[in-house]
C-alpha cells in the first residue's frame, strides 16, 4: 500500500514538473518559432542559443511590482489566476503517458489514474478553466478585462459543444471513454485519425478555440483589448495566466496525440523493442507527437490573422456543430455498413 502511494505521488510530481518545464520551454519555443518564421533569430543571448531565456523571464516576472487595483474585488482577483493555473495542471492526471514499467513483480502503469470517464473528466476540467478567465476579468473592474472575459466565456462555451460532439463520434468508434483504453487500442498504425479524419479536424479547431490561441485569441486580442482579461494583472499573477495558457496548450497537444494519434504507439516499433524498453520508447514517441502539436499550435499562430467575433461565432455554431453532427451520422452509418453494429 505504502509503495503504491509512493509510486503514485512520485508519478504526480514527475508529471507536474514535466508540465511546468514543457510550458516554460514552450514560451521559449514560441519566441523562437515566431522569430524563425519572420526570418529573425529570436532570443539567443541568455545562455547558448538562448536556452536560459525562460529562467530570465521567470525571474523578471517574480521581481516585478505586484499591483492589485483598488477598485477590484481582491479575493476574486487573486482567485482568478489560481483557478486558471490549477485547472490546467490537473488535466494531466488522466493522460496515459506510456504503457507500464515492469519492475520486480509489479507493473507500474505510467498513468496517474485511468478513470473510466477520462474524456469527460478532461471536458469537465476545461469547462472549469473558463472560470479562471471569467473571475479574473470580472474582478478587475475594467471594461477591457470584462470584454475579454465575456468573449472568452462565450467562445469557450460555444466551441465546447462542437468539441463534445466530435468526441461522441470518436467514442462511438472506440466504444470506451477511458483514455487508457483508447490509447491502448490504437496499436501500430490503427490510429483514430485514420478512422475519424473529420472528427479530428473539428477537435483540432475547437482545441485552438479552447486554449484561446490564434486565430481564436479574441479574449486576449492585444490590439483591441489591451490584453483582454489580464489587462489589470501584473507580476506573477499575470505570469500564471500566461503560463496556464501554455500548460493548456501542452495538455491539448497531449490529448490530441492520445485520442487521435495513437498515444504512445508507433508503427513497426514492436518488432525492434519489447518490455520496459518499449515502454520508455512509447513515452518518447508520445512526447515527440506532443512537441509536434505544440509546434503546430505556434505555426498556426504565426501564420493566421485573428477572426472577427461574428466570424468566430458563425464558424462555431453554423459550421462546426452541423459538421460534427454529420460526422456522428456518418460514423454510425459506416459502423452499420461494416457490420460493427446491427
Amino acid at each position: 500500500m505504502m509503495s503504491f502511494l509512493l509510486y503514485k505521488a512520485l508519478l504526480v510530481i514527475i508529471i507536474f514538473v514535466i508540465s511546468l518545464v514543457m510550458a516554460m520551454y514552450s514560451t521559449y519555443g514560441e519566441r523562437k518559432v515566431a522569430a524563425f518564421m519572420q526570418d529573425r533569430l529570436g532570443p539567443n543571448r541568455a545562455g547558448p542559443i538562448g536556452i536560459l531565456q525562460p529562467l530570465a523571464d521567470g525571474v523578471k516576472m517574480f521581481m516585478k511590482e505586484e499591483i492589485i487595483p483598488n477598485v477590484s474585488n481582491k479575493f476574486l482577483f487573486v482567485l482568478g489566476p489560481s483557478v486558471a493555473m490549477f485547472t490546467s495542471c490537473i488535466t494531466g492526471a488522466v493522460i496515459p503517458w506510456g504503457t507500464s514499467l515492469h519492475i520486480g513483480n509489479t507493473y507500474y502503469p505510467l498513468q496517474v489514474t485511468d478513470i473510466n470517464i477520462g474524456i469527460l473528466y478532461i471536458m469537465a476540467v476545461t469547462s472549469i478553466g473558463v472560470y479562471g478567465i471569467m473571475i479574473g476579468g470580472w474582478a478587475s473592474n475594467n471594461k477591457y478585462s470584462l470584454m475579454g472575459a465575456l468573449r472568452a466565456s462565450s467562445q469557450m462555451i460555444s466551441y465546447e459543444i462542437a468539441m463534445g460532439l466530435a468526441i461522441i463520434a470518436l467514442v462511438m468508434h472506440t466504444g470506451t471513454l477511458s483514455l487508457g483504453k483508447i490509447a491502448a487500442m490504437q496499436t501500430s498504425w490503427h490510429w483514430n485519425v485514420i478512422y475519424q479524419p473529420l472528427g479530428f479536424l473539428i477537435f483540432l479547431i475547437c482545441a485552438f478555440a479552447e486554449t484561446n490561441r490564434t486565430p481564436f485569441d479574441l479574449p486576449e486580442s492585444d490590439s483591441e483589448l489591451i490584453g483582454g482579461y489580464h489587462t489589470e494583472y501584473s507580476s506573477m499573477k499575470l505570469g500564471f495566466y500566461l503560463f496556464a495558457e501554455y500548460i493548456n496548450m501542452f495538455i491539448s497537444s497531449a490529448v490530441i496525440s492520445t485520442i487521435y494519434f495513437g498515444g504512445y504507439h508507433m508503427p513497426f516499433v514492436g518488432h525492434i523493442a519489447s518490455g520496459n524498453f518499449l515502454a520508455i520508447l512509447g513515452v518518447i514517441f508520445l512526447f515527440a507527437k506532443i512537441i509536434f502539436f505544440i509546434f503546430f499550435f505556434m505555426w498556426v499562430r504565426w501564420t493566421l490573422p485573428r477572426f472577427r467575433y461574428d466570424q468566430l461565432m458563425n464558424l462555431g455554431w453554423k459550421v462546426l456543430i452541423p459538421l460534427s453532427i454529420f460526422n456522428i451520422g456518418l460514423t454510425g452509418f459506416l459502423m452499420w455498413a461494416t457490420g460493427r453494429i446491427h
Binding site: V33, F36, M37, Q38, D39, R40, L41, N44, W299, V300, W302, T303, L304
Partner: protein, 195 residues
Amino acid sequence: MQALTTRSKVAVDKKMTLKERLYLPAIIGGMAITLKHFFMKKVTIQYPEQTREFAPVYRGQHVLKRDDNGAERCTACGLCAVACPAEAITMTAAERKKGEENLYREEKYASVYEINMLRCIFCGLCEEACPKEAIFLTDRKVDSEYQRGIFVYGKDKLVEKMDERVDVSKRQTKEVIEFKKHPEYAHNQLNKSLK
C-alpha cells in the same frame, strides 16, 4: 496610367467559390509560406559582434580637409553655410598673417568653424557647395553624448589630423573626379598643394 505593381488585384464583391469558403486550402497555403520562411536564411545582424556594412557613399560626420602640406583648405567663403538647409554651419573668417602659409592654404581662413550635429541632416549639400574641396562627409558616425552643447563640433573635431588623414575618395563618383581634372580646376585638386 501605368500600374505601379504587377501584383495588385481589383477588389470585387463576388461570391466566394466553395474552395475559398472552405478556408482550408488558403490556410494550408499560408502555412506552407511560413514553413518556407522557417528554413530561410535569417536577416538578423547581431549588432555588437557584427555591424552592417556602410554604403561607399555613406554620409556621416564631416571632415575639414587639409592639403598635402598640412594647410587647411577652407577659405571661409560661407557657401556651405548658405547651402545648408538645416542652418547647422556657422563660421568666422580671419586673414592669414605672414608666416602662417603652412597652416592655411589661401589668404583667408576660418578662425571659427562650427557644425551643430543635432541640426545637421547629413544631406551633403555643404560638400556640393564647397568650391575649395574643403568639406566632405565621411563614413564615421557622430558619437552619442549626454549634453547637447557637446554636439556643436568646432575645428578641433572637424579638421583632419595629418597623422590620421581621412579618405574621402569614395564620396566622389568617377564622373566628378574626371570633371575635376579639367585644367581650369587644376589649382583646386584635392591632393595638390599651392606652391
